[in-house]
């Protein structure tokens, strides 16, 4: 037992943004500097704690020991059958970490801290901005920590609302339209997710407990319960007949399995985004303020993939395996489609938006490969892309502040006046196109390596993406940094130290992961390996 297992560390991490929020709300609204400092400090708390947790995490044991659970909400259901059975809806405040969520938790705290640090662009209503910002962090941390469907949903929606306001109030010129589009798409996604969750709670969430004077039939949102039921649907058969009334109450037909899987796929696919649900994201990338895009592209998109893995793959391995070809095709389409369209854009932010689509294609490819390597690759790509896109948008924010534009034709030759920032942009671009030694390569390599085991031709098509990625990254990055200097840019100054600091931090992480990927893969391995074992046993058993 380590020290962290004795204290409710997950709750501390989850609620630490609330501390920041409380202090910010108490500060007078005009003290911009103080508000900002508080916000940065507040983001450092979860950062430090999650680092500690990451170091403390026992890779051999997985996340056991950190779990926290408390009854939160029980709703009795009217029953007219008999008196010995009591029926309940039960929702828990349940938190937990495993190899899948821990890296994303760490990613969230890193990117959020850097985004708070980089929020220079906020010129109005600081108090409200950082208030929403803290709430957003709370939501994101919650999404990755929650181990109850209802709790997960609530945190998911918190991020939605917070992002909506952050885009709609502090964004660029067309911010309101972008925010609306964001809300509509994600609202639809959330609605679908809610339907899927309700169905899950009502089928797989079922459990029976002994209670005073009879039994309790409990419909719970607990991920552990649902996972156990999905993995072993026959468990109820072994219950005493008087408890189950002689029938297996856990009945999920083949059709229901598929319905749920597809609902989850669409719900999280919108968030990811999967072609053809990607258009909402373009506007958001273009109009949202830089620090919010850092978070959006760095973390919020990852929530889609996280949900897809956690609920789609882990709960429905059979369906996912049968749908793997579809997933792989979607992934390759995402990869190539995004790359080709990124090549066409003349607005750097749109290039990056399409690039995100392309990179999420690699995540899908990794998922579709259906082996440990591919899944590791997908998770690695999530973390890596989170860092890289955060870094890229950080630079975009600083660029825009100086030049007032992100249109490629109006940029060029910035390496002369801003060598440091151009250098960082170049390295970030290289990371994005998968240069070995930087984190992008490992995710790409592992994903494709995984897919290659089963789907040769799709992998070959995906390898085309390697070339196309180089084409669009170089076109845009060189377009900005190389070439003759423009007259209007001669007076620009390079990044100040405070601006450079988050860039250096993110770059350091990108390098670290690129050179020593086992720092991440070893942590993920426990969860991935466990899932593989379960899959193999169900394959041999069924």
């Amino acid at each position: 037992m380590s020290f962290l297992q004795d204290i409710p560390i997950l709750t501390f991490i989850l609620l630490s943004p609330l501390l920041g929020l409380a202090v910010i709300l108490l500060l007078p609204g005009q003290r911009a500097a103080w508000i900002k400092r508080t916000a940065i400090l507040a983001t450092l708390i979860p950062l430090a704690l999650s680092f500690w947790l990451y170091a403390d995490y026992d890779r051999a044991k997985g996340g056991e020991g950190y779990d926290e659970a408390a009854e939160w909400l029980t709703i009795p259901i009217n029953n007219d059958t008999n008196d010995t059975v009591e029926m309940l809806f039960s929702f828990q405040y349940a938190l937990g970490v495993d190899g899948l969520s821990l890296p994303l938790l760490l990613l969230t705290s890193i990117v959020t801290a850097m985004a708070a640090w980089a929020a220079w662009h906020v010129k109005k209503r600081w108090k409200a901005f950082f208030g929403w910002f803290m709430l957003l962090e709370l939501g994101m941390l919650g999404v990755f920590l929650a181990r109850d469907l209802f709790l997960f949903f609530i945190f998911f929606e918190i991020t939605l609302v917070a992002t909506y306001f952050l885009i709609g109030v502090w964004g660029y010129y067309n911010r309101e339209r972008a925010a609306n589009r964001f809300l509509i798409y994600n609202g639809i996604g959330s609605a679908i997710m809610l339907v899927a969750f309700v169905l899950l709670v009502n089928t797989a969430g079922f459990r029976i407990e002994e209670a005073a004077g009879g039994h309790q039939y409990i419909y719970s949102g607990s991920y552990a319960d649902i996972g156990a039921n999905m993995a072993n649907p026959q468990a109820f058969v072994h219950l005493p007949p008087e408890a189950t009334g002689g029938v297996n109450p856990f009945q999920m037909s083949e059709g229901m399995h598929w319905t749920l899987f597809i609902l989850l796929l669409v719900a999280f696919g919108i968030k990811l985004p999967v072609f053809p649900f990607h258009t909402w994201m373009l506007k958001v990338h273009q109009e949202a303020p830089p620090s919010v895009v850092m978070i959006h592209s760095g973390i919020l998109l990852k929530m889609g993939a996280y949900g897809l893995i956690r609920f789609g793959l882990f709960l429905f391995p059979e369906q996912a395996r049968e749908g793997a070809t579809m997933l792989a095709v979607l992934g390759v389409v995402n990869l190539l489609y995004g790359a080709i369209l990124a090549f066409r854009q003349t607005e750097f932010k749109l290039v990056l938006a399409y690039s995100s689509i392309s990179h999420m294609g690699i995540v899908l490819i990794g998922l579709a490969s259906f082996n440990e390597i591919g899944l590791q690759g997908a998770v690695f790509q999530l973390v890596s892309h989170g860092l890289i896109s955060a870094l890229l948008f950080l630079i975009v924010g600083s660029l825009y502040e100086r030049t007032g534009t992100t249109e490629l034709p109006r940029l060029g030759g910035l390496a002369r006046s801003m060598p440091f920032m151009s250098g960082v942009l170049l390295v970030a671009g290289m990371a994005s196109l998968g240069l070995p030694g930087l984190s992008g390569f490992v995710g790409e390599f592992l994903s494709l390596l995984g897919l290659f085991e089963t789907k040769r031709w799709l992998t070959a098509a995906a390898a085309l993406g390697i070339v196309l990625t180089a084409v669009y990254v170089l076109r845009s990055v060189l377009g900005i940094t190389f070439g003759p200097q423009r007259e209007e840019h001669t007076a620009l100054r390079d990044a100040r130290f405070v601006e450079a600091l988050p860039m250096i931090v993110l770059l350091a992480f990108i390098l670290l992961l690129g050179c020593f990927p086992s720092a991440l893969t070893d942590t993920v391995q426990m969860s991935v390996g466990g899932w593989m074992e379960q899959l193999l046993s169900s394959r041999s058993g069924g």
């Binding site: 072609f275 053809p276 990607h278 258009t279 489609y337 080709i340 369209l341 090549f343 066409r344 440990e372 390597i373 590791q376 030759g413 390496a415 002369r416 060598p419 290289m430 240069l435 070995p436 030694g437 390569f441 490992v442 390599f445 592992l446 494709l448 390596l449 290659f452 085991e453 992998t459 070959a460 390898a463 085309l464 390697i466 070339v467 196309l468 180089a470 084409v471 170089l474 076109r475 060189l478 940094t481 190389f482 070439g483 003759p484 200097q485 990927p517 086992s518 893969t521 070893d522 391995q525 991935v528 390996g529 593989m532």
Partner: protein, 629 residues
Amino acid sequence: MDMFAKIAWVIPLLPLASFLILTALGRSYRTAGVWIGSIGSLGAFVMSLLVLLERLKPNPVDYSNGFDWITIGDYTLTIGYEVTNLTSLMLVIVTLVGFLVNVYSAGYMKEDERITVFYGYVSLFTFSMLGLVLSDNLLSFYLFWELVGVCSFLLIGFWYARPAAKAAAKKAFIVTRIGDAGLFLAILLLFWYMPEHALGFTMIESVFDNQGGTITEGITTLIALLIFLGAVGKSGQFPLHVWLPDAMEGPTPISALIHAATMVAAGVFLVARTFDIFEASEAAMQTVAYVGAFTAIFAATIALAQNDLKRVLAYSTVSQLGYMMLALGLGSLAGGIFHLFTHAFFKALLFLAAGSVIHAAHTQDVREMGGLGSRMKTTAWTFAIGALALSGIPPLSGFWSKDLILAVALEENLLLFAVALAAAFCTALYMTRLFVLVFLGKPKQAEERTAGAKESPAVMTIPLIVLAALAVAAGFVETPWNGWFGHWLTDGAGEAHGSAIAIVCSVAVGVLGVLAGWAIWGRERGAGEAAATLAGRAPGLVRLAERKYYIDEAYEAVFVRGLRGIGAVLEAFDRYVVGGAVKLAGLAANAAGRLALRLQNGQVQTYSLAAVLGIIVIVLAVIGRRMLS
């Protein structure tokens, strides 16, 4: 015993340390860059030399070591280093040329304000190249393979403000990236087909050498061809050669180091390192040989008609790399690597001498030069040695290596022998042309510009002299009557090829080429006239060679436009079909809303009617359920 081999991993770290120090220092410390970069590469050279000397002892044992990079379940990917005869030789070539280029650049890049950055990049390149050479498996090879590519890209685009440099850097990266994708797929194939998912070169050797039928013929050929695709990209073989001539936009020392001696030879090195895969597949060997031979003659003819000093040398490099590939394709590992070895010295020498000329004359166009021989004696003499070595004139090093290849070709395939001879003739021809136009005769146009030309400082000429000495002497390790080099390299499977016919032919075409060149361009004639005589006889051909057979234009038309076209189509699709569907959904929702709005007419009576209808529906539903149950 293997003391130096065991600490061979330190060798790449020295230049890496230089790079890190230089990056941390920033660009203000100008002379520090020169010193730190040079010391790093000198240290690496000394250590490499020690490793090589250790390998020269009888029966050296290969030494390898490494660590697990990623472990996923039962799969392990490692990064490690391995010291063999081949790698120790490459180590010395890379570090020696690297060190000399470092010294040379102190003079060449003196005026540049970003000299520290330059040295940083060069150190990073040296690190990556040494890592590539030392790698013990294909994955770590690939990591460094990409890194050298990126360093090459950075250095081609070193003068980033020039649009031409920007375009060349981009082109170099993307074209080699196509080859890299091939190598990438080859690694994936190997990973899943090799027993125990091993990617180590030693494993590859033992698996493919024995041909136990574990891997089928078709897959072997596919793997070999994909690896070769990577080599084609990196080594500028046809049809991916287009980036290499453009890469001459980079500073000249870089052209010598990266685009002549080391990185472009990495493709040859890759084929040599995975030679057992190729040997297991007849089709793959044929492909390598024919692509190499075609590239050799193809690039040599282009070189004949180019007017840019560095471009001529670049096409010559492409052509010579074709030679090496030809040797490998014909099954002569020693021939390919021997030519790589000698070529590294004399081509680096030629580039550095050309740099010295450009430094003095401030132009790269040979038509504007002439008569520089008298003003720049050292440069002229060393250039002449390099040119003769390249032309294959005995007893210079180029002769011996080229002769070995020709001898092998004579044994194996007469057609390829003829092609190689023709290429050798062209080589002698264009080198003579180059030498005559640059160093002999009278100064041509732009008198006032070339007038100030004078010999370069000692820091630039000393590397030239060292390289010239090597260009003379390096060939004697392997002669038709002394197969020591091949014996040492291939570990006993010695292949001393001596063929009188090959020697005679080789000397004949070399001398003939020089004489023909002298006849056409020599004797004090103006360059314009000379070009006119050749162009007058075969205007179409000359124009074709001058425009590089329109390959660039063809690629532009097919791939660049093609990609743009697909992009345009997809963009329209994205905007109108996907976006249209979204808009349609929005419109549908709007229409539904408008329809519902009709009900909202402000008439309380309508609302009540709706309520009553609702009640009726509920009542009916309740009654219906009762009646059904």
